[in-house]
């Protein structure tokens, strides 16, 4: 490469860099448009699915009628109202609630409004939910839960990710060893979801040994001192994070180990071994480097995956995370919250996919942006 560069004239260089710019620019534009269209389709589909194609309107209307009627009929004033007054009272209340939830407008109109608001990140107000602090602003509902989710999933997934890669790398060079076989044997344990282990961990460490809390973010009442508060949060983090890690650990190691094994048996690695290079150098230069794009991709997807939370694990541990918020929003058909969660994930995913293309080019000299190869 270096000798080729020496023979290039400045004009050729200019032309080459100019064509690179055009290629990259064109690629960027096409890629952005494609991703945007994908996001639009994805979000609109989410809106349609969340509304069951408009059937949710029927469900919500029936729910409103039931709820308002029951509330009204159990009031003291109710018993002394005549039939007409009762009916008017209930009808007025129902009409107001229908209007409040926007059900007086056609579903199609609402769906496009949701879409536009979502795309412009105007997250708006929740229909039924409030944030823990009592706000109906979707942004606050999500932001309030984000730190807890990032803490739990971030710590668990980062430990899982880096821990499993490190172990897998080591195992890939000890193929057939006792530890390798042990990991393979234990890998089916990942078939059980994190909450499954969570329940066992709670039973053992909270109910039986009484050394860990049952759940929640922090002790009740929360310590006033900031350091004590932090320590309390960490104590509450141990069991749910462990559940997440245990659930994924062996299978993840097994996956990476198998992946690394392919590269470990490459000729150039054998050559390096024959040359007598130390293990660390072999791992870093000959195995890790060519696998870097895959590792980066996984890592990036892991990071944006944090956004979705862990619905059941959070529920089992009463962890105030985004997963539970989303779960509740789905149960309440709170479309703005569902759409907000989706659009943010969609944007994060699109941005990540977009940036990964450039990252590949940076870490792998074989990759050229927009070259079509």
């Amino acid at each position: 490469m270096a000798s080729e560069a020496q023979v290039l004239t400045p004009a050729v260089k200019k032309s080459s860099s100019s064509s690179t710019l055009v290629r990259v620019g064109k690629y960027t534009l096409v890629r952005l448009i494609t991703l945007f269209v994908t996001v639009v389709i994805g979000v609109y589909l989410t809106i349609l699915i969340a509304n069951m194609g408009g059937y949710v309107d029927n469900i919500m209307r029936a729910e409103i009628q039931e709820r308002i009627t029951l509330q009204a009929s159990q009031s003291q004033a109710w018993k002394n109202m005549d039939t007409e007054t009762r009916q008017k009272f209930v009808e007025d209340k129902i009409a107001l609630e229908v209007k409040r939830l926007g059900l007086d407008q056609p579903m199609v109109v609402r769906s496009f409004r949701y879409l536009f608001n979502a795309l412009t990140l105007n997250l708006g107000r929740a229909q039924n939910m409030t944030s823990d602090s009592g706000s109906k602003t979707v942004r606050l509902i999500i932001l309030e839960r984000l730190p807890a989710t990032l803490l739990l999933l971030g710590s668990a997934n980062l430990i899982l990710f880096f821990g499993s890669i490190t172990i897998a790398l080591s195992l890939s060079r000890r193929y057939g060893s006792f530890w390798d076989k042990l990991i393979i044997t234990l890998s089916p344990t990942s078939a059980a979801p994190p909450w499954f282990y969570g329940i066992f961990l709670i039973l053992i460490f909270a109910a039986l040994l009484k050394i860990m809390p049952f759940g929640g973010l922090v002790d009740a009442p929360p310590p006033e001192n900031r350091i004590e508060y932090l320590l309390s949060v960490l104590k509450h983090l141990v069991l749910p994070a462990s559940a997440l890690i245990i659930s994924g650990l062996f299978l993840t190691i097994y996956n990476w180990r198998t992946f690394f094994l392919i590269y470990s048996s490459e000729d150039y690695v054998e050559m390096a071994k024959a040359k007598g290079l130390v293990s660390r150098d072999i791992e870093r230069r000959y195995i890790l480097r060519p696998t870097l794009p895959t590792i980066i991709t996984n890592f990036a997807l892991l990071l944006i995956g944090l956004w979705t939370g862990a619905i059941i694990t959070e529920t089992v541990f009463l962890w105030p995370g985004l997963g539970r918020t989303l779960f509740r929003a789905i149960g309440l058909y709170d479309i703005p919250v569902i759409v907000a969660s989706t659009i943010i994930y969609a944007y994060l995913l699109a941005i990540t996919v977009f940036l990964l293309d450039f990252l590949y080019a940076l870490v792998d000299p074989r990759v050229k942006i927009g070259s079509g190869s």
């Binding site: 059937y55 469900i59 209307r61 029936a62 729910e63 009628q65 039931e66 709820r67 029951l70 509330q71 009204a72 009929s73 159990q74 009031s75 003291q76 004033a77 109710w78 018993k79 002394n80 109202m81 039939t83 007054t85 009762r86 009916q87 009272f89 009808e91 007025d92 129902i94 107001l96 609630e97 409040r100 409030t130 944030s131 823990d132 602090s133 009592g134 109906k136 606050l140 309030e144 076989k181 044997t185 234990l186 089916p188 344990t189 059980a192 499954f196 709670i202 039973l203 909270a206 109910a207 809390p213 049952f214 929640g216 973010l217 009740a220 009442p221 929360p222 529920t315 009463l318 105030p320």
Partner: protein, 870 residues
């Protein structure tokens, strides 16, 4: 090789353990309870302003603006029993385990019956309260559905009635509810006052409709054949060449018990020849069909319904209209419009709903007949009165409400304690907390929030947890005057009931509110003719009210707090108001439909007259105290004033509806973005010594008092970080909204003795025994002794409403109903005359005694079997 085999064995073991673990049943019950919203909270009052202003000001203990009052320490023997209560969120599935582990002392929300064995095995105490009550809802359209032309057997009242015989309620109770529920035949709650009052009628009907498959089959066969159906060779009902298929909507959500109920009933229907299409659906899937859809479409035949009653309802007469009549609140639904009760039943539904009776005896007769007709109609077949159970540790004592349990009882905060000591920290668990913003005017109405709020409030009266009657809490006494000819009675001696031919509303009574002028409108200003009312209640507060009762921030309660409550009843629903809220209009309209006037007779002591056309059967329920208890919490005038400023400025809204319309935050006094805005208006109010509605409240508040109140609230906020104050035995020390934790501390200002409500320890459910001859000669007199006791001591006659007996013959038919004769406290006798025993055939007969106490709405039944021989 050996290692490989070991690995294989080990991996198989791991897999097997996971499979076995996953097969274990685990019930995770999510209880989402919304507290019933009381639509009309308060009504107006009228004040003789000129005479009262000075005395009110004098009565108010002034607190210097620059010296914030300090909450006194808890005094032994006064106020709440505990030093501190810490609320946290605990899932229902982990409740018992957490108590066992010492993580919590009490789980205050009811667990369903399937948790009862676990609670009992753990040896914990527990409350027993109403759960859901379950029924089968039938689609009555027919005989064929217009949309499909298919036969609907349940179009026949006789087929519906026969379902009562087809289902074994005892089996459902044992199998589905572990025996922890009650069998239910009637549209009234089995442990509520109306049932107790009509216990003999109820038992008679329960005996008539007892499980009897043969009887059900015979009745259904006769009707099916009359409708043109035939039974095929395979024993299946056919109509026009097709099997008669019943579409059964079985709910899968809620507490999950409707699935086994649905399956059981399906099995019973299949056993007598029906083909059943079991459609398992969630609430949201089923609702558009059974309540929202058109029943003529024939998309369903039966639905597993369930309802709830979270307060002791002393008048369930309106249940008939609600469940059986097109005039029901559910009249909007096509299903209810398809109901065709008989003319007699329909009239009774309406009469009982509106209490169109001259006296209580007339009502009783009508009620008994309506019960009978409801079973003949049976558009609903009632199955089970569910019970829930809230566990607490053995060292904990608390009074629970028979309907609302612990967390729903007004009394819980007054009675919760450790048995072995005064004081201490109680750890309280419940399924959720801080679900919606807290504000007294239109804040959260979730049961999970209301449970905590109750401890921070007192009130004019205290709800009796066992009878649903009221006792004086802050009021001293009350007079109730009722228009002659209305069926109203009194039970307790703190209320004086009288009747008058006409009740005139005074000309100076307040009858409306002028939001533009900020003044009340008197009767003489609004009407040209003298107004009358059906009920007048006069509430008397004690003379030392203003000295003894303080808000948590140290401010003494004053007449202005009461008047602010009256104003707010009207203000937000008036279009002229800066706080106008469209969603409040219907509430005010319904209130105004019965409201006749209010008058503050004096402020020293505080005496309030209230005039209304609304009346209840119990005089105790006709007392309106006007305690500053808004629909969703207590409110001090200065606290409401800053909320009003924020609402009027359009920065916050009391109600969720208005908040949505204006796209602003829903006001919260407990936390969140509201606090900063409220703080701003508190500063503004304090700087101006702001007196809200000056033309009215200005007569009750001085600028100095206003300044002192705002200063107190400011100090309160600085100490506790919120604006939620009340006069209850506990105050909110700290609220952690994201962490879902609440710290309540003892209110040192609270003056009542801690054991004031100690008499409400355990519900005095009577224990009954019968002693008598095991063999009776036909045609001779027979006497039986009845012993009624509670915890081993004779039950005082003063606490007994009635002891009735029912005599069943060998065929299980009731041959006589009568009243037992009082002998001594706890002892009664039943004498069966010779002419009665002569009607009995030789065989095994039953004498059942129903004891109905006055102090608890749960009757006790006891059955004694004896043999008759010639």
């Amino acid at each position: 090789m050996l290692r490989n085999r070991m690995m294989l064995v080990f991996s198989l073991l791991v897999l097997a353990s996971m499979v076995l673990g996953a097969c274990g049943t685990q019930t995770v019950q999510t209880v989402v309870v919304k507290e019933t919203q009381v639509v009309v909270e308060k009504e107006t009052q009228v004040v003789e302003v000129k005479e009262t202003v000075e005395s009110v000001v004098k009565e108010t203990v002034m607190v210097p603006a620059d010296v914030a009052p300090e909450m006194p320490e808890r005094r032994a023997g006064f106020g709440g029993w505990l030093d501190e209560i810490v609320f946290s969120v605990v899932s229902a599935s982990a409740a018992v385990t957490q108590i066992q582990a010492g993580a919590i002392d009490i789980y205050a929300s009811g667990l369903s019956s399937n948790k009862l064995p676990e609670i009992q095995e753990a040896g914990f105490n527990y409350s027993k309260q109403n759960g859901l009550f379950y029924e089968l809802t039938f689609n009555p359209v027919g005989p064929t559905f217009p949309a499909t032309g298919k036969l609907n057997p349940f179009s026949s009242a006789k087929v519906r009635e026969a379902i009562n015989w087809l289902v074994d309620r005892g089996y459902i109770n044992q199998e589905v509810y572990a025996g922890g529920a009650l069998e239910k035949f009637l549209p009234i709650t089995t442990q509520f006052p109306d049932y107790a009052e009509l216990a003999d009628v109820a038992r008679k009907l329960e005996a008539k409709y007892a499980y009897n498959v043969e009887k059900a089959d015979a009745a259904i066969t006769a009707e099916m054949e009359a409708m043109g159906a035939t039974k095929g060779a395979d024993g299946k009902w056919m109509y026009e060449g097709e099997p008669v298929t019943l579409i059964f909507l079985i709910r899968t959500d809620s507490d999950g018990t409707r699935v086994p109920i649905g399956d059981y009933v399906s099995g019973q229907l299949e056993s007598i020849g029906f083909t059943v299409d079991r459609q398992y659906k969630t609430s949201s899937e089923a609702s558009p069909l059974w309540v929202g859809g058109n029943p003529s479409d024939g998309l369903w035949h039966i639905y597993t319904g369930a309802w709830s009653a979270t307060v002791i309802d002393r008048d369930q007469g309106d249940n008939f209209q609600f469940y059986f009549s097109p005039s029901s609140a559910y009249g909007f639904s096509g299903l209810w419009q398809a109901y065709t009760p008989t003319e007699e039943f329909n009239k009774l539904c309406d009469d009982l709903a509106y209490n169109r009776f001259a006296n209580l005896e007339e009502r009783r007769v009508a009620f008994a007949r309506a019960l009978e007709l409801s079973l003949e109609d049976s558009v609903r077949v009632w199955l089970i009165d569910g019970k829930n159970f809230a566990p607490y540790n053995t060292n904990v004592e608390v009074t629970y409400d028979l309907a609302a349990g612990i967390d729903g009882a007004q009394l819980w905060a007054y009675t919760l304690r450790f048995i072995d000591r005064e004081g201490g920290l109680m750890k309280w668990g419940q399924p959720d907390l801080f679900v919606d913003p807290w504000n007294p005017v239109a804040g959260s109405n979730w049961a999970f929030d209301a449970s905590a709020q109750r401890s921070t409030q007192s009130g004019g009266v205290m709800a009796d947890p066992f009878t649903g009657l009221f006792h004086p809490l802050r009021i001293e006494k009350a007079d109730v005057v009722v228009q002659e000819g209305l069926p109203v009675g009194a039970t307790l001696d703190w209320v004086t009931l009288s009747f008058e031919p006409e009740i005139v509303v005074p000309d100076d009574a307040w009858v409306d509110w002028d939001a533009a002028a900020g003044k009340f409108i008197t009767a003489s200003e609004k009407f040209t003719q003298t107004q009358t009312a059906k009920v007048k209640s006069v509430t008397y507060y004690p003379a030392d009210l203003y000295e003894t009762i303080k808000w948590h921030d140290g401010s003494n309660i004053s007449a202005a707090d009461f008047v602010m409550g009256m104003i707010m009843t009207f203000e937000t629903a008036k279009p002229e108001s800066a706080m106008y809220d469209e969603s409040r209009v219907s509430n005010l309209d319904s209130f105004m439909s019965v409201f006749k006037g209010i008058k503050i007779v004096s402020t020293e002591p505080l005496v309030i007259e209230y005039y209304t056309d609304a009346y209840q059967l119990d005089a105790e329920w006709n007392v309106t105290t006007w305690w500053p208890q808004y629909g969703y919490g207590e409110g001090a005038w200065h606290q409401i004033a800053i909320g009003n400023l924020a609402d009027a400025a359009g920065e916050l809204a009391y109600s969720a509806d208005k908040a949505d319309v204006k796209a602003i935050e829903w006001m919260s006094f407990i936390g969140g973005p509201s606090l900063e805005i409220l703080g701003k208006y508190l500063d503004q109010a304090a700087s101006e010594s702001y007196i809200p509605f000056p033309d009215t409240l200005g007569q009750f508040i001085t600028a100095e008092e206003a300044a002192a109140r705002y200063s107190n609230l400011k100090t309160w906020y600085e100490d506790h970080g919120h604006y939620w104050i009340g006069t209850g035995p506990y105050y909110v020390d700290k609220a952690y909204l994201v962490e879902k934790t609440l710290v309540l501390k003892n209110n040192g200002y609270f003056t009542d003795a801690a054991d004031k409500w100690a008499t409400f320890g355990t519900p005095k459910i009577a224990e009954v025994e019968i002693d008598g001859a095991a063999q009776v000669t036909i045609g001779s007199e027979a006497t039986f002794d009845v012993f009624v006791s509670f915890e081993g001591a004779p039950y005082a006659q003063a606490d007994i409403k009635q002891v009735k007996y029912l005599l069943y013959n060998a065929q299980g038919e009731i041959v006589q109903v009568g009243e037992a004769t009082f002998v001594a406290d706890g002892q009664y006798s039943v004498t069966l005359p010779a002419d009665v025993t002569s009607t009995l055939e030789a065989g095994s007969n039953k004498l059942e005694v129903a004891v109905v106490p006055l102090v608890v709405s749960v009757p006790t039944f006891f059955t004694f079997e004896f043999i008759t021989a010639p």
